[in-house]
């Protein structure tokens, strides 16, 4: 099956031909299939931001190819506006883009830009608010800037969901959120894939959440995709990750630590439950040793 997104040998240089020239991407390759949750991880400056901005046409490919839902992003006649309806982009701290006085109006901004009629807009807003967990009647006439930080972020996300895009790109969705709200957001992202069949691309620093959500992960370093694989494959290479300035989830670090000590445990584990099971398998937890005592 053809991938919904394909990036081939993508290069990008900012401000070419000026004294401030910087190379951001040096040949990135990426492929995403329908319904996947793919995560892009990497330190600051690795080019993640530049890469995802290609996906909805904010940046056009200078060198290399990008194909999104069968469209060639190098095509000068590309319907960019139409593309942005299909690829929804949610930037870091998206609550900073809110501008309408009332919540409902801000969420309706997207659909209105595409000339949808009033009934359709209303329907979309209602659905989008439901998806992020904001009650339609309760929140639609609230003053946008009277909401809490987490609520405003939900409004911003709903604003993009109202376009009903097939692909969703999240840049650091949980940045600045406390653990409770963070957890809630991540669950909702999974629901979007499971229930709405959206394809999701997640840029994140948070290894723990990436491990929970991602089917596949791309590791970006200095403008190149240097590692790629399923989360299990990737996190089982903790040593490699550390050399790139990234950390495996804590659970993975424990398993690696044990491996290091010569204990043959599996290292490709992602959750506390899996780790508990594996430890239960490799260690005898029933015997009570006289030395360790009770």
């Amino acid at each position: 099956m053809t991938p919904v997104l394909q990036v081939e040998e993508l290069h990008h240089t900012y401000l070419r031909g000026t004294p401030f020239e910087t190379v951001s991407l040096r040949g990135v390759n990426m492929e995403v299939h329908q319904g996947e949750i793919v995560s892009i991880i990497g330190p600051t400056g690795s080019g993640k931001s530049t890469l995802i901005q290609h996906l909805n046409g904010l940046i056009r490919p200078q060198e290399g190819n990008v194909f999104v839902l069968g469209q060639d992003l190098r095509d000068p006649d590309l319907d960019v506006k139409g593309l942005r309806r299909q690829v929804g982009m949610i930037f870091q701290t998206p609550e900073q883009q809110l501008f309408e006085q009332y919540v409902g109006d801000d969420i309706a901004f997207g659909p209105r830009n595409y000339g949808l009629d009033r009934t359709e807009v209303r329907q979309r807003v209602k659905k989008a608010m439901g998806m992020v967990g904001l009650g339609f009647e309760e929140f639609k006439d609230r003053l946008t800037f009277s909401l809490s930080g987490g609520e405003m972020r939900k409004v911003a996300i709903a604003g993009v969901l109202a376009l009903e895009p097939r692909i969703l790109v999240f840049d650091e969705p949980t940045c600045g959120l406390d653990p409770e709200t963070s957890s809630e957001f991540l669950t909702k992202i999974k629901e979007l894939r499971d229930e709405e069949e959206a394809t999701i691309i997640l840029v994140s620093h948070d290894m723990e959440s990436v491990a929970q959500l991602a089917d596949r992960i791309y590791v970006l370093l200095q403008g190149q995709s240097i590692l790629e694989g399923t989360s299990r494959q990737l996190f089982s290479q903790a040593g490699l990750l550390r050399s790139y300035g990234l950390d495996a989830p804590q659970v993975g670090q424990v398993m690696h630590g044990l491996r290091h000590r010569g204990i043959k445990v599996r290292v490709d584990l992602l959750s506390v439950s899996e780790a508990e099971e594996e430890i239960g398998r490799c260690f005898d937890l029933s015997q009570r040793q006289a030395e360790t005592g009770a």
Binding site: L15, R84, G88, F91, Q97, F99, F109, N113, F145
Partner: protein, 303 residues
């Protein structure tokens, strides 16, 4: 295609730290010299004066090791406007300008080009170019820090007259400090709204009213962000013991060297010559010489 990232690198008169003689001058003196030269440019009324000023400025630029081409490049966006303005003046100016009486050089209907209007636009073009070169010269060779400190020091004697020199300098510094940050923010907001299908003229011709309304999704978030930053910054400043200008010492020290005084003296003399010297007579002499020469050449050719 809209180049969003250009905003981030737009600095007010980009400072190029080449460390030349000009760079090392004390900023207070540079500001004073700028004022003197501006006056000279504004009041120069002869071709000779304008030409001398232009040559002088270009030589100073050369001394500052800034590539002359780069400095002139900054003038390019203004050229079409200058051309339009000059053309209008050329066509419609009918009055007296300069010491010589006007004579018509060419006319067609109500449009007439006289020697006076020619003189006017020539000097005007020179003047505009020189103003821009002067300002560029200052900002290319002086960092924003130096500029604000220089300005504050120059204005500080006015504190006795209740003039808020320190506050002004602080406002100026903070504005310059946040200019690139806010430009980056604007870029982010544009991208976010564009990603929701907003039009920023990418698709070409939009009505003026429509285009202004389209600015709301940009201006409101930017404004709110600026307010938020201001609030945070106030807290941070208070937390660091800021209580206004009184009792503060300064990390940046400006020391005037003999070379600064010398440079200032030279500029004074130069400007005096430009303003007070009878340079129009040189104009006249040059003209007579040139027209004699031309007449001789034509005469020779005709024969």
């Amino acid at each position: 295609m809209t180049e969003y990232s250009a905003f981030r690198h737009l600095t007010i008169g980009q400072y190029l730290p080449y460390g030349s003689v000009v760079h090392r001058l004390d900023p207070r003196f540079k500001i004073l010299m700028l004022c003197l030269l501006m006056a000279a440019v504004a009041f120069a009324t002869s071709y000779t004066a304008s030409l001398i000023l232009l040559i002088a400025l270009l030589s100073i630029i050369h001394m500052s090791r800034v590539p002359v081409g780069y400095a002139l490049q900054g003038l390019r966006p203004a050229l079409p406007w200058i051309a339009i303005f000059a053309a209008l003046q050329l066509i419609f100016y009918k009055g007296q300008y300069g010491p010589e009486p006007c004579s018509v050089v060419w006319s067609w209907g109500f449009i007439s080009v006289t020697t006076c209007s020619l003189r006017l636009i020539a000097l005007m073009v020179f003047r505009l170019l020189e103003f821009m070169l002067l300002i560029s010269l200052l900002t290319l060779t002086t960092s924003t820090t130096e500029l604000t400190h220089g300005l504050e020091r120059l204005l500080s004697p006015l504190k006795r007259l209740r003039f808020p020199a320190h506050e002004l300098a602080m406002v100026f510094t903070i504005a310059l400090r946040f200019a690139p940050t806010l430009a980056g923010e604007l870029e982010r907001i544009m991208k976010a709204q564009a990603s929701r299908g907003a039009d920023f003229g990418e698709q070409g011709r939009l009505g003026f009213i429509r285009r202004t309304r389209n600015l709301l999704p940009l201006l409101v978030p930017l404004f709110l962000s600026a307010l938020r930053r201001a609030e945070d910054l106030t807290l941070a400043m208070e937390a660091r013991g800021y209580t206004g200008g009184r009792g503060r010492t300064s990390f940046i020290q400006l020391k005037a060297l003999p070379s600064d005084y010398l440079a200032l003296a030279l500029v004074c003399v130069f400007c005096a010559i430009i303003l007070v010297g009878n340079l129009e007579s040189i104009d006249r002499q040059v003209f007579t010489a040139v027209s004699d020469c031309v007449r001789n050449v034509f005469g020779f050719v005709r024969r």
